[in-house]
């Protein structure tokens, strides 16, 4: 078989041509797919589980919110120690040998977790609240060691906290201004105020939810809901959808890598492990995607269609002995 010539006429010379109505085929496909989409929409609808607000979180699991906010102040949450692009925490960015694209582009979306999620919202709320204002002054004027001591003590007390009428109480101890700060933050959150304070940007309009999503991601409440909905990474994560609906099933290969060695292993292989799985999988998927595009140039991959006789099913008529006379010349 010769490569394609300058024109289709040359390419198809000697091939029997038969009538074929492409426009009718497209019209029928439009009608058929339209009808199928219509039926699926009418009978199955589409998923739309309401988003979780910080107010929901504060009302449903106030201890988790207070614990998360305390950890933000202590700098021990995921966001606080995330590294680029949110902050410059040393050695936090994922790397594989010298490959460290996360660090290469620096802090482009700065987020100071303690300040953004706790101190700034409290500061804004303290104008008409003298008790909170005094607590914040005490916090800001205290030495770092003192702040750490209060945080340690409060963090240790929180697992045994009790909730009464939505308020969180811990056993007596030396927590400095933290109980006042946290009860106020919880109250603001329960009223819905924190949802607004975390997206405030000094302008009227906003469309960036980086801060509230990072804060909620640091807590356990949203993750717990996701686990109940079978959305977590160990259950193939992002390709799932709430309910029984199909999600992004086309991400199956990407999500599959998180389930297998070395990306699910602490020890790993050639420096790839669960700790830098995101980077390793991004690199792997980039290579595989480029490989898919270059299949026509890659020996073995480009030859496999000839070895696997599926093409004989597709072109049954061409390969049928009785049609031999109709083959190309």
């Amino acid at each position: 078989m010769k490569p394609m010539g300058a024109t289709q006429e040359q390419y198809y010379r000697g091939v029997r041509m038969v009538p074929y109505d492409l426009v009718k085929e497209l019209a029928l496909a439009l009608v058929g797919i339209g009808a199928l989409v219509l039926l699926l929409s009418l009978f199955l609808s589409s998923p739309d589980v309401a988003p979780v607000t910080i107010a929901d979180w504060a009302k449903s699991d106030p201890v988790d919110l207070v614990t998360t906010a305390t950890e933000e102040l202590a700098g021990s949450t995921t966001t606080a120690g995330y590294g680029q692009p949110y902050n410059s925490t040393p050695d936090a960015a994922q790397t594989w040998g010298p490959i460290a694209p996360q660090a290469w582009f620096g802090v482009r979306i700065p987020v100071d977790a303690a300040d953004a999620f706790v101190l700034q919202p409290l500061q804004r709320a303290s104008y008409s609240n003298t008790e909170l204002g005094a607590a914040l002054t005490t916090w800001h004027t205290a030495a770092a060691d003192q702040q750490t001591g209060w945080l340690d003590a409060y963090t240790k007390a929180l697992p045994d906290a009790t909730v009464t009428d939505g308020k969180v109480s811990v056993a007596s101890g030396d927590y400095g201004p933290l109980p006042v700060m946290m009860s106020n933050l919880l109250g603001i959150a329960q009223s819905g105020g924190l949802d607004g304070l975390l997206v405030i940007n000094g302008r009227f309009y906003q469309t960036d939810y980086t801060q509230p999503l990072l804060f909620m991601g640091d807590g356990g409440y949203l993750g717990g809901l996701a686990e109940k909905a079978n959305l977590t990474g160990s259950l193939w994560g992002m390709m799932n959808e709430t309910g029984m609906y199909p999600g992004q099933t086309w991400l199956w290969l990407y999500t599959m890598w998180y389930q297998v060695f070395p990306f699910n292993s602490d020890t790993g292989f050639i420096g790839l492990n669960a700790g830098n799985a995101d980077l390793g999988i991004v690199i792997l998927m980039t290579i595989l995607t480029i490989g898919l595009a270059l299949v026509p140039l890659i020996p073995v991959l480009r030859d496999m269609p000839r070895w696997i006789p599926i093409h004989r099913l597709i072109w049954r008529e061409y390969y049928a002995p009785s049609k031999g006379s109709a083959r190309t010349t």
């Binding site: 038969v18 290469w104 830098n276 995101d278 995607t289 140039l297 049954r316």
Partner: protein, 216 residues
């Protein structure tokens, strides 16, 4: 051969009129009987050939439903049953678009559809597949519901680890929505048109010759 003026008769002389040269180049490379042929080789008889057309049909419904949703704004489909219905049309047409695109891709792989000068057509098809995944991904992030929240929180780690998150912030609804309703659909649609023109300009590939190999 360069473009010739229609006033030059049988003598091929390169025209200085760009418009004429463009028209003649189109006539030469993509005449109407190639763009809309009424005859095909006799072996074009398998259902596999229909997957590409069905993918285009699904894309049409994705765009139609998406245009209605974007016209009415991102809150509409949460607040009205008609909006929810149009979101369902969008959701299911996207699902069918991907199903038939993947079937088309596998079909073309087993037919070695890149042979005889068609490698660029295959490569652009893979690029369309990739951009479609990105378009759908930004759509899931633009849903403004629980799924969107959870996907954004999880996806940020992959994006950030590859350095992409510094410029493509999945937690920024405005950026994701803008990309989803404007730039990425334009990219997909443009490349699909290019893909179709490339397919039609060369015609369908011949069956694999048992002696010639897939790459022949």
């Amino acid at each position: 051969m360069g473009a010739t003026s229609s006033f030059e008769g049988a003598t091929p002389v390169k025209s200085k009129i760009w418009t004429l040269r463009l028209r003649q180049a189109i006539d030469r490379h993509l005449p109407m009987d190639h763009l809309l042929p009424d005859r095909q080789p006799y072996y074009v008889g398998s259902w596999v050939y229909v997957f590409g057309v069905i993918t285009i049909a699904a894309l049409v419904w994705v765009i139609v439903s998406g245009v209605v949703l974007s016209f009415m704004g991102p809150q509409w489909w949460h607040d009205s049953s008609l909006g929810r219905f149009f979101n369902s049309l969008h959701f299911w047409s996207v699902q069918l678009f991907f199903i038939f695109m993947v079937l088309h891709l596998w079909g073309q792989y087993f037919m070695a559809g890149w042979r005889h000068g068609r490698a660029a057509t295959w490569m652009i098809g893979v690029v369309i597949f990739g951009i479609s995944i990105l378009t759908a991904f930004t759509g899931y992030l633009s849903q403004q519901n629980f799924d969107a929240q959870f996907i954004a929180i999880n996806a940020k780690d992959a994006m950030n680890s590859g350095g992409i998150g510094a410029f493509f912030n999945v937690l920024n609804f405005g950026q994701m929505y803008g990309l989803h309703v404007m730039l990425l659909p334009i990219g997909v649609t443009f490349l699909v048109v290019v893909h179709i023109v490339m397919v039609r300009s060369r015609g369908v590939v011949k069956p694999i010759d048992p002696e010639g190999g897939a790459g022949s």
